[in-house]
């Protein structure tokens, strides 16, 4: 974000449009299968945003896990619940929810633009992968282990819940 290259600016707006457009497609589309594809587009835009933020490891993980795996799960759930064509209906909170959303967005924008963020604490590491690895297996090793236990529990739990009797 510290460069003034016009390419970065253009790329930022393209990826933002992809992200927000995909998200809007998920919410405002009627066809569930299209909604899932919009979700994939949104995840792609986010991967691009991570590249712009020089978080290359996260960008690749985003594509691998979200666009490659989670979207497949979602598509499968849509297929198995058989409500595809007009399955994406509104409930009674359509109006109040929009009002709440706009109010929240205005509040967030007010806070974000009004804050003086403390920036500029040293250079960005050249090799994010090894820095990230030292962080995860150093100070954050306990949360890392807990996350792996969580994944195992989720794996077993998902199988037991979804299994047919």
């Amino acid at each position: 974000m510290n460069t003034n290259e016009p390419a970065v600016t253009i790329a930022f707006y393209v990826f933002s449009a992809l992200t927000l457009g995909g998200a809007a497609g998920v919410v405002f589309g009627r066809n569930m299968f299209h909604a899932a594809l919009f979700l994939v587009a949104s995840f792609f835009g986010l991967a691009g945003i991570y590249v712009l933020l020089q978080a290359d490891f996260l960008a690749v993980v985003q594509v691998l896990i979200y666009a490659g795996a989670i979207s497949i799960l979602v598509v499968f759930a849509i297929m198995l619940t058989r409500q595809v064509e007009r399955g994406n209906e509104w409930n009674q909170l359509r109006g109040p929810g929009l009002l709440l959303g706009v109010l929240l967005l205005l509040g967030l924008l007010f806070v974000l633009t009004g804050t003086q963020w403390y920036t500029g604490m040293g250079p960005y590491p050249a090799d994010t992968v090894s820095t990230l690895a030292r962080q995860i297996f150093g100070p954050w090793v306990l949360p890392f282990e807990v996350a792996s236990v969580l994944l195992l529990a989720a794996l077993v739990g998902a199988i037991i819940i979804a299994r047919e009797e």
Partner: protein
């Protein structure tokens, strides 16, 4: 015009709002789960952008984002399994009709 930290934070806020609106105002349980994923991702943008600006040497925000992705993967697996189980029992995944615990 250069892209600053604020641009990323505004993007994050907009994405979070869209996700929140969808999670509030949709009937289909799978859509609600998708919107939850969008909100997770909005939080991740904020984490990564802030670590890029505030603490670039330790990358704490990226570590957090990785944990968020892990938890999101676990959440979506269990969530969709629950949706499937509910569909098998009730023949619907309309979140407004699944009200057995409500009176």
């Amino acid at each position: 015009m250069a892209i600053t930290l604020n641009h990323y934070l505004v993007l994050s806020a907009a994405l979070f709002t869209i996700g929140l609106y969808g999670a509030l105002a949709k009937r289909n349980a799978v859509t609600i789960l998708m919107c939850l994923e969008l909100m997770f991702n909005a939080a991740n943008i904020a984490f990564v952008a802030l670590t890029r600006a505030v603490a670039p040497q330790v990358l704490t925000g990226q570590v957090f984002a990785l944990f968020v992705i892990t938890v999101a993967a676990a959440e979506v697996a269990v969530g969709l399994a629950i949706v499937l189980a509910v569909y098998r029992q009730r023949r619907t995944i309309d979140a407004t009709e699944i009200d057995l615990l409500k009176w």
